[in-house]
């Protein structure tokens, strides 16, 4: 049997507040299969975002294992974890986090520059530009390539962020409240887009949300409360 593309086993995460240790995750087990959309549902403070950061190797668990294709990765050197973040994982955040000095196209192209030296990138610059343009066309922003984030609507910014997450052809997309900052109509459009691309590319998709309706569009819902997984159930 093929191992899950991304899994968490016995994850705990404590934050220190002065001399106090605050537990945020208390033994979370989770597995995401290739091509699966998994919604992490819970109220604020349930530990969803922290779990997402730990899954994406942005944060270290206090105990437990993170497995990419069955291999533990949480203790890899900083550089290796950074490389895995780049090649295996794409992030989409609630507040887009586009770089304001760059155009939409440059924001997407930046993702392709992360692991390349100047000479390496120079050799593939035309291809990199073409790929970034194609992805932006796929998310419906063909006419917004040279616009800066300040010149784009919220929905358009999130589409740029999605395009950026997709450029390195990751196998997992980790989305943290991707529609939390959008009105309902725009949010629907963005979700439709994300799920369409997920299907086309057969991506594993972890979606953090507290929106029950959005979660119902996933393949499986994992409910969390106080750092513990309450339930994990497939959506009919």
């Amino acid at each position: 049997m093929t191992p899950p593309v991304l899994a968490a086993s016995g994850i705990t995460k404590n934050y220190r507040l002065g001399k106090q240790s605050i537990p945020v995750l208390r033994g979370v087990d989770l597995a995401v299969q290739q091509g699966e959309i998994l919604a992490l549902l819970g109220a604020s403070g349930a530990g969803k975002s922290t779990l997402l950061h730990v899954l994406g190797l942005l944060d270290q668990p206090t105990t437990g294992e993170i497995l990419f294709d069955g291999e533990p990765v949480q203790n890899l050197p900083v550089r290796e974890r950074a490389r895995l973040r780049h090649s295996h994982t794409g992030f989409v955040f609630q507040f887009y986090h586009l770089i304001p000095e760059l155009t939409a196209l440059q924001n997407v192209m930046l993702a392709g520059m992360m692991t390349k030296s100047v000479l390496q990138y120079w050799a593939i610059r035309k291809q990199a530009r073409r790929e970034a343009t194609e992805i932006l066309e796929q998310v419906g922003l063909a006419d917004r390539l040279k616009h800066r984030p300040s010149e784009l609507s919220g929905g358009e910014r999130q589409r740029v962020a999605i395009a950026r997450a997709l450029l390195a052809r990751p196998r997992v997309i980790l989305a943290d409240e991707p529609t939390g900052n959008l009105d309902s109509t725009t949010a629907d459009g963005v979700v439709d887009l994300m799920f369409r691309i997920q299907k086309e590319r057969n991506l594993a998709f972890v979606l953090v949300t507290h929106d029950e309706d959005l979660a119902q569009r996933a393949d499986r819902i994992v409910r969390m409360k106080d750092g513990v997984v309450l339930s994990s159930a497939a959506v009919r």
Binding site: S49, H53, G56, L58, D59, V78, R79, A82, R83, R85, H86, S87, F91, F93, Q94, F95, H97, L98, I99, E101, L102, Q106, L110, A111, M113, M114, T115, K116, S117, V118, Q120, Y121, R164, A168, D176
Partner: protein, 447 residues
């Protein structure tokens, strides 16, 4: 690649960073221009001082020193090409029947001397002096107006109608309206020994007739010294002792051996004047040693200016530190997303480091380039400012120069660039390290 790309984008979209760049460029420019000017000035001053000095001067000779004995002793020195005896005295000059000289001109004080009537009187043998120093050229300098020139340079100090001749600096002659043929009186003092053996000072007045002007490149020398025939001083001050000598001017064959030659000459002189008490008497100094205090004062000014300008560079660096720190504070969100996209803390650090180093590099290149051009065309810049605004930044006549001196030392350029890069690196590393210490999750949570 992303580091360079982002660094350039950040710089291009944030004009405030130009402030730091401008500060670095300005301080580097000032360090290049001012130090090149001073280096040129020092080189020129050295040339001027050398032109008015013998290669080696033997001075502080005791009263019993005899020229004939010293000349015989020094004749064996292999690096000696010529030598000339001097008597060195002092006195006041005045022009009988004329009003005293006007007060000093503004700005023409110690460096030139020349405006007060108290002078050193150098008693020389003209032919021997011409062989040992530039004396022959001093009295035939083309800058001396024809009406002030010595009529017979071969016999420059020959008495005129029985009156001893005197040579004055050309600037003094011009300032006081003196002409060849004018009479002067030199008033001085001398210790006379009475029959009972007691010594007492006595006034001596020596009438002199001006033979003409002389001009070295060293205005201070010209203003403070006059030449008379050595025989005149021997007769008037030393009771006709024709073998007396106070100082010896020496020319050497090989200037690269100057210090060693001066040491050997000092030993020869000590042996020649020693009266058995082993007390070293007389000093032999190279032209540089003889004028050391003056040359060091100019060098000291250059060193002080360097310190002031380096402080300006540090101030500019603080400006850069402030703008880079502001940038890091504003870019915490970018730090988060760069980490999420696969950046390492070191990589994120290097984005901001690259910003600082780019600012420094452009500032240094601009400063050195424009500074070098300014230094090369400093005289033209001076003339342009004089023409446009009437401001003379470097009044040449004060320093006895015909153009603003300049010497660009490549080693100094390298040192300035190194200092600027070092300073730029330090003030770039600090904000960059702060960026690396940011927790990317804080910005990614959007709180």
């Amino acid at each position: 690649m992303y580091r360079l790309f982002l660094a350039i984008r950040y710089l291009l979209t944030r004009p405030i960073n130009l402030l730091g760049m401008f500060g670095i460029a300005l301080s580097v420019w000032a360090l290049v221009v001012v130090v090149s000017l001073f280096s040129g000035f020092i080189a020129t001053v050295e040339e001027h001082v050398h032109s008015a000095s013998a290669d080696v001067s033997v001075s502080n000779l005791p009263a019993w020193a005899k020229w004939s004995k010293l000349r015989a002793a020094l004749a064996d020195e292999p690096n000696l090409s010529a030598m000339a005896p001097r008597l060195v005295h002092y006195g006041l000059i005045h022009h009988p029947g004329k009003r005293p000289a006007p007060p000093p001109l503004p700005g023409r004080t110690a460096l030139h001397g020349g405006d007060q009537p108290f002078l050193f009187v150098l008693g020389i043998h003209a032919a021997e002096e011409a062989a040992a120093t530039g004396f022959g050229g001093w009295i035939t300098d083309p800058d001396i107006a024809p009406e002030l020139r010595v009529k017979d340079p071969q016999n420059a100090l020959a008495p005129q109608h029985g009156v001893p001749s005197v040579l004055l600096g050309v600037e003094r002659m011009r300032a006081e309206g003196l002409r060849p043929g004018d009479t002067l009186v030199l008033t001085t003092g001398v210790l006379r020994t009475a029959p009972d053996g007691t010594k007492s000072p006595q006034q001596v007045q020596i009438p002199l007739v001006i033979a003409g002007a002389y001009k070295t490149k060293h205005g201070g020398f010209d203003g403070n010294n006059l030449f008379v025939d050595i025989g005149t001083l021997q007769q008037e001050l030393l009771e006709g002792d024709t073998d007396a000598v106070h100082e010896i001017a020496i020319a050497v064959r090989d200037e690269s051996q100057l210090d060693e030659t001066a040491d050997r000459i000092a030993r020869i002189v000590h042996r020649a004047v020693d009266r058995g008490d082993q007390m070293a008497r007389g000093t032999a100094q190279t032209w540089r040693e003889k004028n050391l205090a003056f040359l060091q004062s100019v060098e000291h000014q250059r060193a002080l200016l360097k310190i002031v300008l380096i402080v300006i560079m540090v101030t500019a660096a603080f400006l850069m530190l402030a703008t880079l720190s502001m940038m890091v504070t504003e870019k915490t969100s970018d730090i988060g997303i760069l980490t999420a996209m696969g950046g390492t803390p070191l990589g994120v650090t290097s984005v901001f480091l690259a910003c600082g180093l780019t600012i420094t590099a452009i500032g240094v290149l601009l400063g050195i380039g424009v500074g070098s051009l300014t230094a090369i065309y400093l005289e033209e810049v001076r003339q342009a400012l004089l023409w446009a605004f009437g401001i003379d930044l470097f009044p040449l006549q004060v320093y006895n120069l015909d153009r603003v001196p300049c010497h660009i030392d490549p080693l100094w350029l390298v040192q300035v660039a190194g200092m600027a890069f070092g300073t730029g690196f330090v003030v770039s590393v600090l904000p960059a390290l702060r960026a690396a210490l940011y927790d990317p999750l804080i910005s990614l949570r959007g709180t």
